[in-house]
Amino acid sequence: MSSESSDFANPIDLSIEAAIELEELKQGLRPRAPALEAFFDSIRTPGPAFEGKSLRMLDDVRAYTVFRDSLGAGARPAHTLKEFRDFIETYLSKLETGVSKGVQKDIEEAKRFCLSFNTQLMAKKMTELYDRRERDESRTFDHESIL
């Protein structure tokens, strides 16, 4: 039952680990869920980059669909990027506080968010995989026209 959060650095593995730890927390098998903190940190912290820091996931417009679809019913229409970013940051902080205090509703919501986020990231990975394997030229190639 030991936390495996330190072994994983990518949000896909961290989100799954966090979901398991939250379930263990819910069932009273562990006092806290450190993987959730590691998962949220990975979203908030910029990764290493070429001569400086990279983009943190929260600032990356390419990740906005992932966040929006992971929020589910909790999503609120936003008019600007900043507004949406602020909303997500507040949402994550609220969940963190709720989970640390052992609020059941927040634990369940955090777990739902982790699993949903994992689904969205996996879908993104699959899209990348398909894009790589089925390149543009192969899609537009019409075999019948050759014959």
Binding site: E51, L55, V61, Y64, A78
Partner: protein, 280 residues
């Protein structure tokens, strides 16, 4: 249903681990192939442990999600297993591994493990982009159909350029600037911007960002410098060592904000940083 899903996923894990173990019995000319297989075996073992933990908790949602992860991971990893197996083939140009490893050491952070293998795909690939589990590995596949061409050697350098792009997080750093330029351009010349991206709606910016047009802008803006960077990297190295010019070199097409690309200054800084390291 969840019970059968659990057993099914466990069986998948066992099968993929068995496949990896069979591959580990091969003779590897370089240690990196074996290391990559051991790493992948460990990844699947960890997933198996997570699955068992979720099953013990009777947590159906998580079991389902981990099962999805396992299926996708197998789908991602299977071609790489074939790639690693082909890397042991004596028909590969093993004499290229050491020079390429030297270039990789000079250009990538950390201690990259280079794996050179063949592809039965016309276009060569560098694999690390989609596989988080092999971050420290650079997998370069050369098209077997083009084996008679000496220009495959600089092409391997081109593929290394893709790995540098991913390893140094250049895409992320470039994206910040591109995003700023987009916002700036929209505020200065909204009409021009809308002409290129008619679905852009500042009142619902989240929705607009998800639209294909805007996504195309980002991928175009990111892809062009990447292509440029990837092609220039071997060029500089090869020119220095008086090899041959890469036939893969091409100028980027005009971007949406003019010719030749969206960020000539950004490109220049990226390229100069790397060439300085190569010169050093």
């Amino acid at each position: 249903m969840t019970m059968s899903l659990y057993y099914n996923s466990n069986l998948k894990i066992k099968n993929i681990c068995r496949t990896i173990e069979v591959l580990l019995d091969s003779d590897f000319p370089h240690g990196s192939g074996r290391k990559a297989l051991i790493k992948l075996n460990e990844v699947f073992s960890q997933l198996g442990l997570k699955l068992s933990r979720a099953h013990r908790l009777n947590d159906n949602d998580t079991v389902q999600q981990i099962s999805n992860n396992i299926t996708i991971k197998i789908y991602q990893v299977l071609p790489i297993l074939g790639f690693i197996l082909r890397s042991t083939n004596v028909r590969n140009a093993f004499e290229l591994v050491d020079p390429l490893q030297t270039i990789a050491d000079a250009t990538l952070q950390g201690r990259p493990e280079l794996l050179l293998s063949s592809e039965w795909d016309y276009v060569p690939f560098a694999y690390p982009q989609s596989l988080d589990d092999l971050k420290s590995f650079v997998l370069i596949g050369l098209p077997a159909t083009e084996a008679s061409s000496a220009l495959l050697i600089p092409l391997a350098g081109h593929e290394l350029g893709h790995a540098v792009w991913a390893n140094r997080g250049i895409g992320g750093a470039a994206h910040v600037s591109i995003q700023q330029v987009c916002e700036e351009l929209y505020s200065k010349k909204p009409e021009d911007f809308k002409r290129h991206f008619p679905e852009y709606d500042p009142k619902d910016i989240i929705k607009s960002y998800c639209q294909r047009q805007y996504h195309n802008l980002l991928s175009t803006a990111c892809f062009k410098p990447r292509n440029y960077f990837a092609t220039c990297l071997p060029m500089r190295y090869l020119e220095k060592h008086m090899f041959m010019h890469s036939h893969t070199f091409s100028h980027p097409e005009p971007g949406p904000f003019g010719d030749p690309s969206i960020h000539p200054m950004l490109l220049a800084s990226l390229l100069s940083g790397t060439s300085q390291r190569l010169r050093a």
